[in-house]
């Protein structure tokens, strides 16, 4: 029994750590993918740093009602990105900022989130793969319809690195640490601690915001008898103590700032003053909300609770329909919602085309495009550059030279013959000879070509004024039809050609085993060559 408990505990911790690890994956992913961006050489940017900085910016901008919108966040990111690559253009910096932001939201997926699969051992001892869905930044709509960003709990946890800590105690710890650091004059560390304290303040505010929102929506969903009054109480106590602590700290650092002589020291202290002042501002905001909470509750209770006696009993749509349906697996939930929709959507009137409306529809003048998209510019087109290095005629001559069904020929002889006609043809012949070294037999098979040119290097040097290398042996080989069917009539027909030439050419192809065997049988003397082709192809 004891052993079982230990295992279960260990597994829970493991799952928690795996999830924490998963939350960092999108950040690593940014750096892994930056080299693949086609619009810039983004390897100079430290994407994970920019990602963390983005989450910082969003978290700092979060307050009770809204957060930062996309433009604000990208704008605030720019100095940080510019510092990483000062020689790049501002456009590119902005694009990097947008790319990182989009990737942290995971734009492009339906759910705009991330999913990692992790394994865990169940209570019954079975190992199961589970999916962990999380988001780092979410988009929410403000009351004015604008979209703004908030960092999720996962993101704040990844950022602060305090996964399983009590918000309040961690906060206290951070404050104590801050005071110690200041008394010892270590302002850089003090700034870090102050920033952490601010994240925790934001996190604390988020919990309260969710509770207040829930109250506003449905009084019954929140325990107003015990849970919420306790929460409000503890929050108020918390704010009180924070006020005291932070005012003291503010006094200390302000003094430190004024007394400091080192300009760097002075600047850091000034930054710290800003942060602590911001913390105090946030506490004030939180306190205002806390004071209004009671009024919200009473107003909502009036609206939601008091009413006359029931006339007749009816279904409780929320409690009896919505909540149970939400708790069902997706496959089971389909039947009730479809039944509801069918019955609740009302009726539709089948559309019947009427002649008058049809006629007017057809006679309606085409809508003026200008009103929709503005003037369509006439594109200025330039004729494409002629990319063919060789003319059709040169290709034909080379084709004629390289049609070698009977006897293999040396490249040197072919080049000589070609050069008599046209030096360009000689170059084309040489290029095609090199291309034929390790030919794509698989491709030729797929495209059902009749024959393929083969080149074999037997060690002879090419003696040529223009082109150097090996004096290849060239030969056309017939492609032996369908590899799966050695009895294919076409294969039989071309068998004669194959027999005299490099019949086992399929060795360089994918795996036409039958053809290979055929070729070896008919032309055992060329087997070595086939092997060398195979090597060359590899």
């Amino acid at each position: 029994m004891r052993a079982d408990e230990t295992t279960a505990d260990a597994d829970e911790g493991l799952a928690r750590r795996l999830k924490a690890l998963a939350c960092t994956a999108p950040l690593h992913d940014l750096d892994a993918r930056k080299s693949k961006l086609d619009w810039a050489d983004a390897t100079v940017y430290q994407m994970a740093e920019i990602g963390l900085h983005t989450i910082d910016q969003v978290t700092i901008a979060m307050d009770f009602d809204t957060g930062a919108d996309h433009q604000q966040v990208t704008r605030r990111l720019l100095p940080f990105i510019a510092a990483q690559a000062p020689d790049r253009t501002a456009d590119e910096h902005a694009r990097v900022a947008r790319w990182v932001l989009d990737n942290l939201i995971n734009v492009g997926t339906t759910d705009r989130g991330f999913r990692r699969v992790y394994g865990a051992v169940d209570a019954d001892g079975a190992y199961r793969r589970r999916a962990f869905d999380f988001k780092l930044l979410v988009e929410l709509a403000a009351s004015d319809g604008e979209v703004y960003l908030r960092a999720t709990d996962e993101a704040i946890n990844v950022l602060v690195g305090a996964l399983d800590t009590d918000v309040e105690s961690a906060h206290v710890a951070a404050e104590v640490k801050l005071e110690n650091l200041i008394t010892r004059g270590r302002l850089a560390d003090a700034k870090l601690a102050a920033e952490q304290a601010r994240y925790r303040t934001v996190q604390y505010g988020e919990i309260l915001r969710a509770k207040l929102d829930a109250t506003r929506r449905d009084v019954r969903s929140v325990d107003w008898e015990r849970e919420l009054p306790e929460l409000l109480d503890s929050a108020l106590t918390h704010i009180e103590s924070r006020f005291r602590a932070e005012t003291a700290i503010l006094k200390n650092i302000t003094a430190a700032r004024d007394e400091a002589e080192d300009p760097d020291h002075k600047r850091r202290a000034a930054e710290l003053v800003d942060i602590v002042a911001d913390c105090i501002r946030r506490h004030t905001q939180l306190q205002n909300r806390l004071q209004a909470a009671g009024a919200v509750f009473r107003a909502e209770q009036d609206r939601q609770q008091f009413s006359g006696p029931a006339q007749r009993s009816a279904v409780d749509v929320f409690g009896q329909l919505l909540t149970p349906t939400l708790d069902l697996p997706l496959s089971d939930a389909l039947a009730p919602v479809e039944a509801y929709f069918r019955a609740g959507a009302g009726t539709t009137v089948p559309s019947v085309p009427s002649l008058p409306s049809l006629v007017s529809l057809l006679l309606r003048p085409a809508p003026e495009r200008d009103h929709v998209v503005g003037e369509v510019p006439d594109p200025e087109l330039q004729p494409a550059d002629d990319v063919d290095a060789f003319t059709d005629d040169q290709w034909r001559q080379a084709d004629a030279l390289l049609d070698l069904p009977e006897v293999p020929r040396r490249l040197s002889g072919l080049l000589e013959e070609a050069r008599t006609a046209d030096p360009a043809v000689a170059r084309l012949v040489a290029l095609r000879a090199v291309h034929a070294y390790g030919p794509e037999v698989g491709g030729a098979l797929r495209q059902s070509q009749q024959s393929v040119l083969l080149a074999v290097d037997d060690g002879a040097e090419l003696d040529d004024p223009e082109i150097g290398g090996a004096d290849l042996l060239l030969m056309s080989a017939a492609v032996d039809g369908d590899p799966g069917d050695p009895g294919d009539p076409r294969g039989e027909e071309t068998g004669g050609d194959t027999g005299t030439g490099a019949g086992g050419l399929a060795g360089g192809g994918e795996d036409p085993v039958a053809t290979d065997a055929d070729g070896v049988e008919r032309a055992p003397d060329l087997f070595d060559d086939t092997e060398s082709i195979e090597e060359a192809a590899l």
């Binding site: 829970e12 799952a15 339906t110 759910d111 705009r112 989130g113 699969v117 865990a120 793969r129 589970r130 999916a131 869905d133 988001k135 988009e139 709509a141 979209v147 929102d213 829930a214 929506r217 449905d218 939601q304 009413s307 006359g308 006696p309 029931a310 006339q311 007749r312 009993s313 009816a314 279904v315 409780d316 749509v317 929320f318 009896q320 329909l321 909540t323 149970p324 349906t325 939400l326 708790d327 069902l328 697996p329 997706l330 496959s331 939930a333 389909l334 009730p336 919602v337 479809e338 039944a339 509801y340 929709f341 069918r342 019955a343 609740g344 959507a345 009302g346 009726t347 539709t348 009137v349």
Partner: protein
């Protein structure tokens, strides 16, 4: 029941149904409609004739009264039926299609839940509820959050059986809103879907737009109340009952005191 009806009576009955098919029309605004509604209430032969005509067309008369007018519902496989498939956005991936349908259905349920927060509101003929895009999305998300809190230790969905994932997870995972290039509402998001549902219900005469606050605020109509109370809620409840996830409450154990007088 008399078998021989004057053709004038049949025409009047059919006309009452035709009025019912214009969901935004209310008897208070149309004298002929109001007369027919009054006649339906007073003349039981006319009432039965109306029901018979409706049945022949593939319709059910849920209620006829002065506030809501003639509230009709389509029977199975009727030409007047609105299918979920035609309403839900068509997704190319099969399992995705079911998810979309469930999300749309949940939103419609949540709209009714918010329009009539308590059973009394649904029963009270004079109650008028208010819904807004923001609230509907919020109600479902809040319910998801509560289910999440209630969930036992580790209930992350199994990676190899996505269809066993609970509906609330699918909803909670879907973003509420998303920034689009042209500033329009992204249709894949829950707010986009809620906006669509509320507009659709307004089109069906179930909601009336009040203002554009909170993403669009609407009030419920008597017609909506009848539709939800007399048919839709029961239909969904029966399905849930069949799945064994809800129990019929005690004390009389019926959902309503009287069954509706249909068909």
């Amino acid at each position: 029941m008399s078998t021989g009806h004057a053709s004038a009576d049949a025409e009047a009955a059919a006309r009452l149904l035709a009025f019912g098919m214009r969901p935004k029309l209310v008897p208070g605004r149309d004298v002929v409609y109001a007369d027919l509604v009054r006649r339906y209430g007073e003349d039981s032969a006319f009432k039965q004739l109306t029901h018979a005509v409706a049945a022949g067309l593939g319709l059910m008369v849920l209620e006829v009264n002065a506030q809501a007018g003639a509230v009709l519902a389509a029977t199975d496989e009727s030409v007047f039926e609105i299918k979920m498939d035609s309403y839900a956005r068509q997704s190319k991936i099969r399992e995705r299609r079911d998810t979309e349908k469930v999300l749309h259905g949940l939103i419609h349920l949540a709209t009714a839940a918010l329009g009539y927060p308590r059973p009394d509101d649904l029963a009270n003929d004079t109650y008028i509820g208010r819904v807004s895009v923001e609230q509907v999305d919020g109600v479902v998300r809040e319910a998801c959050r509560i289910l999440d809190e209630r969930a036992a230790a580790n209930t992350d969905p199994l990676a190899d059986a996505p269809e066993l994932e609970q509906a609330w997870r699918a909803y909670a995972r879907r973003p509420a809103t998303a920034a689009t290039k042209d500033g329009r509402l992204a249709p894949d998001t829950t707010r986009g879907m809620v906006t669509r549902a509320l507009r659709f219900l307004a089109e069906q005469g179930f909601l009336v737009a009040v203002s554009s606050e909170q993403g669009g605020t609407y009030r419920t109509t008597p017609r909506y109340q009848v539709q939800v109370r007399e048919l839709a809620a029961d239909a969904a409840f029966d399905e849930l009952l069949a799945l064994g996830v809800v129990a019929v409450p005690g004390d009389g154990s019926t959902l309503r005191a009287s069954a509706t007088d249909t068909l």
